[in-house]
């Protein structure tokens, strides 16, 4: 088990994460309403669903930024939120916002995050990632001078700066051109060439089927559809999203 062997012995487990009866309330509204989900290591999972279905909340809980109201969440066998600080080392998170600093250059942003994750050679890692996301020639440019698409590429590089085995991406295609979207797939592999576990949200059925092994549809905080991507076509998935297809 390649991924588990890279993790601390205490969290070596076959499952990337497991979620049981997860509820998250914002006031009276339930963003997640009794969600159950188990994802093994090295699986690429696309999460689709209408706005307000709970996709972002799910990712933010796994990224340790939001606490569950009820239910159990284990990442690599570690309980959230009680073992959140240990989980953070193994999770990379790309949100709607880029988490970048406007006045730092692309390279400085990656080096900064590299230091936070305690990398032995943040500069070397920054240079390698900038080359991987096609920003080597923009390394010295401040973030505020980059276009939205280039900022998104840099944000993707930031999310994998510590080479995490579990990658959470919230609508990663935002702002990316075709070359940028093609790049996404390469970030699903870690520095040693092993496939990461990836959970990503999207509104694009074609992208979901192109990048994922498994497709899940959420609606009103619940899982309403869960199938291997190989069994689906974009048309079938689009029909499911319109509420016309077979559910579950």
């Amino acid at each position: 088990m390649a991924v588990a062997s890279r993790l601390a012995p205490s969290i070596a487990t076959d499952l990337a994460f497991e979620i049981e009866g997860l509820v998250r309330r914002y006031g009276y509204r339930r963003a997640l309403d009794g969600l159950d989900l188990v994802v093994p290591w090295n699986q690429r999972v696309a999460i689709l669903g209408p706005n307000g279905a709970g996709k972002t909340t799910l990712l933010r809980i796994l990224a340790t930024l939001v606490r569950p109201t009820r239910g159990q969440v284990r990442v690599g066998g570690l309980e959230l939120p009680s073992q959140a600080s240990a989980v953070r080392r193994y999770v990379g998170f790309l949100a709607h916002q880029t988490f970048l600093y406007d006045e730092l250059t692309a390279r400085e942003n990656l080096i900064f995050y590299g230091h936070l994750y305690g990398l032995p050679d943040p500069s070397g890692r920054a240079d390698a990632l900038l080359a991987q996301v096609g920003l080597a020639d923009r390394a010295g440019h401040r973030v505020r001078t980059l276009s939205r698409g280039l900022q998104q590429r840099l944000a993707l590089a930031r999310a994998v700066v510590h080479d995490p085995p579990l990658l959470l991406l919230d609508e990663p295609e935002t702002g990316l051109d075709l070359a940028g979207i093609a790049l996404l797939g390469s970030l699903f592999y870690d520095a040693t060439g092993h496939l990461r576990t990836v959970l990503f949200t999207t509104h694009d059925p074609e992208l979901a089927l192109a990048l994922a092994d498994r497709v899940i549809v959420l609606a009103r905080g619940r899982k309403v559809f869960d199938r291997p991507a190989s069994e689906l076509t974009p048309a079938v998935l689009a029909a499911v999203l319109r509420g016309e297809g077979e559910i579950r």
């Binding site: 990224a63 600093y101 400085e108 995050y113």
Partner: protein, 224 residues
Amino acid sequence: MSSFARQVRALLWKDLLTEARTRELLGGMVVFALLVLVIFNFAFDLRVDTIEAVAPGVLWVAISFAGIIGLGRSFILEKDRGALDGLLSAPVDRGAIYLAKLLGNLFFMLVVEAIALPVFVTFFNIGIALPELALIILLGTVGLASVGTLFAAMAASTRAREVMLPLMIFPIAVPVVIAAVEATALLLTRGSSSSRAGWIELLVAFDLIFGILSFVAFDYVVEE
């Protein structure tokens, strides 16, 4: 170097580099402090017999209000592109974030004070014992910055953050301002050294107690 120290260094480097490139924070703080000194200089009837009673208050009004401007901006930087979530989703000790922000705020406030103090001395034409005044200013600034950094993190999540921050800081920081003004006044009037020592001890006690409390409480403030 420990991982905690490396994180503090990286966070502090990021804030100082950003400020070196924008000069938004220091510029605003310095201009504000100087404006306060100028306005008070013209607003009060500063005769020789009243100047030493008024001057300490003027100095600390300039320091504390200019400080509020800097403190208020310190977490805005983290909110701009959701960068605070980037820090919180990383395995960063929350104490390291607090300490780096505190050191940054302290540095900016001390720079402003280093610029404003000669202007203050010139405007009010007073002789000072610089080492002791520097100690009082340092202790007062540490007190303001330690509670201010904590409340700036809290205020950054509110909509009316510019209004909320002074409303939260000043009730807590009243002992610091009073002790600093009294110690400065006793220094300028060459009052009893034992009374002066008492106010300085109060400043030290406040810095220690609220510094530690703020450090511990920061985790609860930034976590959801």
